[in-house]
Amino acid sequence: MGAPPAPALGQVKAQRFDYLWLALGFLALWQGLFALSGPEALASPAATLARALRYLQTPQFWVHVHSTGTAFVYACVVALLGGLALGLWLGFRRFAGEVADPILGSLYSIPKITLYPVILLIFGLGVSAKVAFGAIHGLFPVAIFAMNGVRKVAPIYLKTAHVMGLSPWATVKTVLIPAAMPEIVTGLRIGFSSTLLGTLIGELFASNAGIGFILIRAMEAHNVPDIMALTMLLFTFAATANGLLLLLERRVRHGLPSGR
């Protein structure tokens, strides 16, 4: 359920120094809260950064990163490819799409976190539970966006394809998919984020290795600097990945309509 892409801001762009001010303001706020609440509740910015840097230097940390990464890649393959296949098919078959639309919407909106006991009972502790958890988070947004993308293709394109005597497969490949591309890319971006979130949640509740696992261990031990350092690292990674995908998305949207 990621945020839809912000519409063009047009007039106002952030200036270079604005980010600096934001960072400074954020640090000041953080430091202030720290001074107010004390080290029991929060770690200071400096301590958090130091802890994060120390994490990056320990080999053990990279073992956990690898574990999370592996599960995430598998979950992405299932969610993105599966979602795309399902969404495209439902988009082409109007009747099937109309039947499935509200079902997909409901599956997308249910709080999947409540399903964690079920996933655990089915898959047991370990990689498969993490992958399953990541995949059920990412699959539905990808499918929904792909389906809507194909549905919204202007009928005139299809008529043109028909007039030109394209075979069904050529129509799909050269007309439908390129025309639906912007929606598909948005879906893939949101699916990517959701899958990452799902994989991490899976690790919080259902694993013995990975970033989510060391996070829950830090939570149980009430190790505040560890919690905050890990959160910072995760947020940095997620924000960077999301930013890159947004960039890609804008490029695809501007690249259209191609002269085919």
Partner: protein, 249 residues
């Protein structure tokens, strides 16, 4: 009823019947899942249990407060940010990455600050829901057609009336989308908090039952919360669809 609706209902019933069958003949063992019919029976029994009802009331109340906080707060922040585009441009990437990080890692910190109890859960739910509301408020305000502002001026509406009679109604479809998402996220926040650590609530009841191998209670409660979410969500979705159609997207 249309052919689409009939097919849809048939599809859902067939899926449930398949699971029921697989459970009955033992392909899915009882420790993994109980047959759907037994889930319904279990839920019916749970609803007559006073202690369970207290848990349900506890969770629903927390969710309701979290929803109100995130909708009101998100709207206020959205309006504020809309007035300061530079700040908004800076914060935008933050908002779009917000939902790819498991926010409830902050839950233990909330417990330290607010203690184990409803306040931590409410803050958790509100933290989850507020960003969706902020983002959709911004989108709604962005998409108010410029011509409407001109019409308001031609009609000589005072600023108050122009907001109340023109701008707010024009932004309503997106505000409703925001409310819908804020509701969904508040539920996730509160229930996730209860899973991790709480003194009462549906989430705690489910994780307790899971640890106890008490599949009847677990699936009964799961059925309750999922049914509730699906119903509320489809109602909001229908409202949203009508508004979007009336306002022509």
């Amino acid at each position: 009823m249309s052919r689409v609706a009939v097919t849809r209902i048939a599809l859902v019933l067939a899926a449930v019947a398949t699971i029921e069958g697989l459970c009955r003949i033992g392909v899915i063992d009882r420790f993994t899942m109980i047959p759907p019919s037994e889930m319904v029976v279990a839920l019916a029994r749970l609803l007559t249990d006073v202690k369970i009802n207290a848990d349900i009331v506890f969770t629903l109340r927390n969710i309701a407060v979290a929803i109100v906080l995130s909708v009101v707060g998100g709207f206020a922040v959205g309006v504020l940010l809309h007035a300061v585009p530079r700040l908004r441009a800076v914060l935008d990437p933050l908002f779009s990455a917000y939902y790819s990080v498991p926010t409830f890692v902050f839950y233990p910190l909330l417990i330290v600050v607010f203690g184990v109890g409803p306040t931590s859960l409410i803050v958790m739910g509100a933290m989850f829901g507020i960003v969706a509301m902020i983002v959709n408020t911004l989108i709604g305000l962005d998409r108010i057609p410029r011509v409407l502002g001109k019409v308001a001026r031609v009609m000589r509406l005072d600023p108050w009336r122009s907001v109340l009679l023109v701008r707010l109604p024009a932004a309503t479809p997106h505000l409703v989308t925001g409310i819908k998402l804020a509701v969904a996220y508040s539920v996730i926040g509160v229930v996730a908090g209860e899973f991790i650590l709480a003194t009462a609530g549906i989430g705690r009841r489910i994780s307790f039952a899971y640890n106890d191998f008490d599949n009847r209670t677990m699936y009964g409660m799961l059925l309750f919360i999922l049914t509730m979410v699906v119903i509320v969500n489809s109602l909001l979705h229908e409202w949203e669809r009508r508004l979007h159609r009336r306002w022509g997207k």
